[in-house]
Amino acid sequence: MPDQEQKPQLSSSWDPSDSRLTPAEGFLLSRIDGQTPLEELRLIGGLPPEEVDRCLERWVSAGIVVFEDSGPSGDSEATELERGESTGDGADGYEAGTDLSREEQQRILEFEASLGRSYHALLGVDLNADTRAIKRAYFKLSREFHPDRHFGRELGSFAQRLDTIFMKIVEAYELLSDPATRAEVERSMNQEPPRQLPPDPASEVVGRPGAPIGRAVDSKRAALDRLRRHFRIPEEILVERRFRAKQFHQTAMVCSRRGNWKEAGASIRLAIAFDPWNDEYKRSFAQVQAQVHQVRAAELLTEANASLDARAQQDAMRLYEEALSYRPCDPEINAKAALLALTLGEFDSAREYAEAAIGAKPDCAEHHRTLGKILRQMGLKEKARTALNKSLSIDPDDAETKSELSKLIRTRSVR
């Protein structure tokens, strides 16, 4: 490792758009400005000092970070070569030296990145899930993320990640399995904006797992704020940082126009890391994230060969719910979720989604038709008829709506 006095800086040859970082890593990266010595970075990086060292080591070998006067130019070729090998291993969180498959790593990284969700979303249960469902979800996730699952395997930084994830799962389970704390959690959820945004890098540091809720968190937050004030970043660097963030954001926008949502999400994450104070980026992130989930849900559905594989449908349903947690009022996602819920026989939630879709886009015939379908299957014939008629009034030529209506009349005449 280089000398403590040395100041790491971002490599000029590095193209940031192809790397993915966890928010915490992004935060650390955003602290690298060519002026802060390593010693100080270990203190303000928002990660434990050993973790900072590890990240830097990884980034140096991936060519993202260089240390000033780090050797003659002859070295740069070697760095280039190394970089070629390990790109995709370092900066985006994946590691080559572990016994985990890339899929396992991906799942862990994704789950870790989404720890800021509500406790319900974390466990994958709905708001009115009973204790049994909560326990089942807890057991299921424990089986996946308990550190013992990978006992004796080489895990690299993933050992810490698994610990963090598991403890967060326990926290969610403990709070939701006790009626008193659960009521408290649900009350505080209602006070906040409808669904939580992903945590920004700064709050990730504050919300370390296991932190006692309330006072202790507050005093930690205060301590960190003080720290941050103490190590205030010079204005000119902030300007540069904002510029970089903007570049990332533009890349992200281009990607999202092309429909490359995953890449867009990664770029926005970087933008947020460089400029955690910009709310626009956070909004874009939420939108993109919703798209990512929607796309994956759609992929899953196609893969599942339509109606046969109920498990894949359940997974897709979960992804839609996740997507909705980012954009609760998106008519399109709501409509798709409604149809899927209908196939799964979950009429109540199907109805909720359909109504949400209509609420967001009242003059779309399709949404009213969907609601009508759902209501008919629920046995609420009068309401179904109203919905279908509404649909017809918007689009009088829709054959499917007409056939729905005739079904409704048929069942009535049979009785």
Partner: protein, 524 residues
């Protein structure tokens, strides 16, 4: 990785098991017994003896025979439990360098982890002989109510025996694993574990391949040997009444009475009366005296009824801690030889309102569970997952002598909690932090795991510095602590090394020393 053995390191007997063909198998020793006495002795001619060999010569060599050393492991020399124990132990207990209790036999001093290590080594040997290949890894069980120091010491024992200890697990949890293997129903069970020297009760929930400990309680100083002792006292008393001779000062006679009491107690689990015959127990001017006494089951029950009642208090607390009522429990699993006693079974049945499960062998089930956990950890066949809890609250002493709990008892491990501390004086440059385990609000009533000093705090008015102390309990139930000054980022990591545990150098020294002893085979 070679196969992992599971060791039930008991107070009176130890047992070793391995997974063979997907099922746990208990390995018999060369004598054909499935359990071996947890005894160690140095014979008159200086030989080291373990297991059945040690037990067989205990009567004639009581002073140099160590039994029940598990009752001493990880305890301070000054602790009240130790005072009680030393009254009835035939060997001498001395104060060690770290205020720990050590054992002196044949002019040599042994630490408790060393004695435990010798017994573990014997179990390792039994397994190696059976398997025909070396064994390197193990899982060892401890009473659920063992504290951090006792767990550390048990882990050290494994190392002294030349084994990598993959995991320390709780005995009732191990029993539940063995019980739950191959069952895929969702159910709640209670494991009532009354062994030779310790009592544990755990409430667990099984389902979907997960075994979750909901709560645990117990007493590490209560077990079958207390039953033996009560009966031995009774025999002593009767003999004194009949013959006017007090045998309590006669070590050899006492050892004979102890053995006879243990045997009579076991007999009374199936018989209504039994006879104790100890010929030539004493000599005086009138010639040889013989001890001849008939004991009934009722007599034994009246001698120990308070102990059995006492265990039910822990059971009650444990069920409440789990947030349940006795009727919520689907099955009761009895573990430990003492649960063969009809009165114990009846009391437990009465408490829960149902009969205990009959499918497990109370002497072997713990070792089997340890073997299962070993295979779960070591192989890729990870069908079962164990979610265990910490039996004690963990916290620190506050400056006014109170105990600030940071991790509550029955918290799922691994667990991590951090807390911010500050100074109480202006310009205070160091803070001393005492880490304790227990559930009393008064700091001094709890078990001190260790203390450390966070130094070099920058000068500031009192209450301004903020020191974050993070407590970790790993899956073995072993604690580590780290502290960080939030203003400077200065970090300090502390392995809580308390009184009673061995230092790294000591362990290495013991390992070296023990390599030179080739223990004669026990159990032949």
């Amino acid at each position: 990785m070679s196969r992992v053995i599971g060791i039930d390191l008991g107070t009176t007997n130890s047992c070793v098991s391995i997974i063979d063909g997907g099922k746990p198998v208990v390995i018999p020793n060369t004598g054909g017994y499935k359990t071996s006495p947890s005894m160690f002795a140095i014979s008159q001619d200086g030989k080291r003896l373990v297991g059945h060999l040690a037990k067989r010569q205990a009567i004639t060599n009581a002073v140099n025979t160590v039994s029940s050393s598990k009752r001493l492991i990880g305890r301070r020399f000054d602790s009240p439990e130790l005072k009680r124990a030393s009254e009835y132990f035939s060997y001498s207990i001395v104060r060690g360098e770290n205020d720990d209790a050590r054992i002196e036999i044949a002019g040599k001093t042994f630490t408790c982890p060393e004695i435990a290590g010798i017994i573990v080594r014997e179990m390792k040997r039994v397994a190696e002989e059976y398997l025909g290949e070396p064994v390197t890894d193990c899982v060892i069980t401890v009473p659920a109510y063992f504290n951090d120091t006792q767990r550390q010491c048990t882990k050290d024992a494994g190392r002294i025996a030349g084994l990598e200890v993959l995991r320390i697990i709780n005995e009732p949890t191990a029993a539940a694993l063995a019980y739950g293997l191959g069952r895929d129903r969702e159910e709640k069970i209670a494991v009532y574990d009354l062994g030779g020297g310790t009592f544990d009760i755990s409430i667990l929930e099984l389902g979907d391949g997960v075994v979750e400990v909901l709560a645990t309680a117990g007493n590490t100083f209560l077990g079958g040997e207390d039953f033996d002792r009560r009966l031995a006292q009774h025999i002593l008393h009767e003999f004194k009444n009949a013959e006017g001779i007090d045998l309590s000062g006669d070590l050899m006679a006492m050892q004979r009475i102890k053995d006879a009491a243990e045997k009579a107690k076991c007999d009374l689990s199936s018989l209504n009366t039994t006879e104790i015959n100890l010929p030539f127990i004493a000599n005086d001017a009138e010639g040889a005296r013989h001890l001849n006494l008939e004991v009934s089951r009722e007599t034994l029950e009246s001698l120990v009824v308070d102990i059995v009642k006492g265990t039910l208090k822990s059971v009650e607390q444990c069920v409440a801690d789990a947030g349940l009522t006795p009727a919520d429990i689907d099955h009761i699993v009895l573990v430990g030889g003492q649960t063969r006693m009809p009165m114990v079974q009846a009391s437990v049945s009465e408490f829960f309102g149902k009969r205990p499960h009959k499918g497990v062998n109370p002497d072997e089930v713990v070792a089997m569970g340890a073997a299962i956990q070993g295979s779960v950890l070591a192989s890729d066949d990870r069908d079962m997952l164990l979610l265990d809890v910490t039996p004690f609250s963990l916290g620190i002493a506050t400056f006014d002598g109170h105990f600030a709990k940071l991790i509550e008892r029955n918290t799922t491990v691994p667990a991590r909690k951090s807390h911010i501390f500050t100074t109480t004086r202006d310009d205070q440059s160091a803070v001393k932090i005492r880490v304790l385990q227990g559930d009393s609000n008064v700091a001094s009533d709890n078990h001190l795991l260790g203390e450390f000093v966070l130094a070099d705090i920058p000068q500031a008015p009192k209450g301004v510095p903020e020191i974050e102390v993070a407590f970790d309990i790993d899956a073995n139930g072993i604690v580590s602590v780290s502290a960080r000054d939030l203003a400077t980022g200065k970090e300090q990591s502390i392995t809580v090394n308390a009184t009673g545990t061995l230092s790294e150098e000591e362990i290495e020294r013991i390992i070296r020393e023990n390599e030179s002893y080739d223990l004669p085979t026990a159990g032949k």
